[in-house]
């Protein structure tokens, strides 16, 4: 299925490229404006993924890198839906996540934070949304960690999220934060987003109803991708 067109991305809702309080953006932000394109097949098509691409445990970060034990940390379920701006579910789309462990340490050869690696935690997962756009992961809640921006900056606990949709122009990477985290208001990366309502959209709600008693607590995080325009009047013989 090729989308007729996508709604224009609201660049005032997303963070701008140049956000000096997030220092790395200063030398990496284009100085010239983006060139706006009317979309063509290059933007309206996108890759597809199937169940042969992923394994059964790929969405279970408590098990997918376990080497004889469970990871240390707060056991959580992260679930939600992928929708478009028309509130239509986005089925069978790839959702990928990555995160630090409970102590805020990433399993990455470039991370030198003194908090230890967890031998039973890798920190990445992936899944396909179901026919109604639902997805779920099981993991441990990541810890906050320091980073070299100002000398005493700490990222709030977060999970990185990557989503595809059906069009390459829907491609999105964002971060999920946790309800009530006091570091959210202090983070220069979060605060690159100009509108507080947009920030709220990245904060997952504690969801007691989806928690598993005596096992794992749940957070609900819905993801919204760009909507598809319904073309009412265009010179197309097949109609709308």
């Amino acid at each position: 299925m090729i989308a007729t067109d996508l709604y224009q991305r609201d660049r005032t809702w997303h963070p701008p490229a140049l956000t000096p309080d997030y220092k790395t953006s200063v030398a990496r932000a284009p100085r010239l404006p983006l060139l706006s394109l009317q979309t063509s097949a290059s933007e309206l098509t996108g890759p597809t993924f199937g169940h042969t691409d992923i394994a059964a445990l790929d969405n279970d970060l408590i098990r997918n890198y376990a080497h004889g034990g469970d990871p240390i940390g707060e056991r959580i379920i992260v679930h939600g839906r992928v929708l478009d701006e028309n509130a239509r579910p986005v089925p069978n789309t790839l959702v990928e996540i990555w995160q630090a462990n409970a102590g805020g340490r990433y399993r990455h050869k470039k991370d030198s934070y003194l908090a230890p690696i967890d031998p039973n935690f890798g920190g990445c997962g992936r899944t396909l949304t179901d026919a109604n756009g639902f997805y779920s992961f099981r993991t441990v809640k990541p810890g906050a960690y320091p980073w070299r921006n100002w000398v005493n900056n700490w990222r709030p606990a977060h999970i990185h999220v990557s989503v595809f949709g059906t069009a390459f122009a829907q491609r999105l990477i964002t971060q999920m934060y946790f309800e009530g985290d006091p570091l959210i208001a202090k983070c220069p990366i979060v605060q690159t987003i100009p509108d507080p309502r947009a920030i709220d959209q990245l904060v997952a709600a504690l969801d007691m109803n989806a928690s598993v008693p005596l096992d794992a607590i749940a957070y609900k995080f819905d993801i919204v991708l760009r909507g598809t325009r319904s073309t009412y009047f265009e010179n197309r013989p097949e109609g709308n």
Partner: protein, 203 residues
Amino acid sequence: MAQPLSYLKESPSQTAGPYVHIGLAPGDAGFDIYATELGRDIAGPNAAGARITVTGTVTDGTGAPVKDVLIEVWQANAAGIYPGTGPDAAKVEQGFRGWGRVVPDFDTGQFRFNTVKPGPVMGRNARPMAPHLNLWLVARGLNIGLNTRMYFGDEPAANAADPVLNLIEQAHRRATLIARAEGSTYHFDICLQGDAETVFFDV
């Protein structure tokens, strides 16, 4: 008061951060977790067309290589047909994903990937677009992914007629999207900022 419009808002973007490889290329982060890492093979074994190599470096506004970038590639096959969600996807060779992920060398920042040269794709208003790769860059310091295109230096006639290249008002900037051909290898450097800044698109 008018009726409320009930559209949802798109989830706002955030930077992929310095450790994007953990999620999207864990082998490059230094650990094996998935049976299959996605995006390693763009064209697959059955793809028709010329096998090519693309190489280059992404640089920042100081001229330094961006060593923690992750680039995604999206392209049509040699016949100009997009796989995946494209309308003629069923006509595409088995195993041709058309999509890939590219991570540069962490020490030098140079990236390199293999694929096949795409054919021209029909653009809007039945105007063909010159062969091109669609690229999407994410990295620490990029708050939202950057879209650009790579065109081929050995397609001067098609490039001169390309509707997207011709939208670039400052004609000399079109060259920032055209890779230098050297046999079957194409050299394409991406400059995030400065005098040689690559053209990026709002798609």
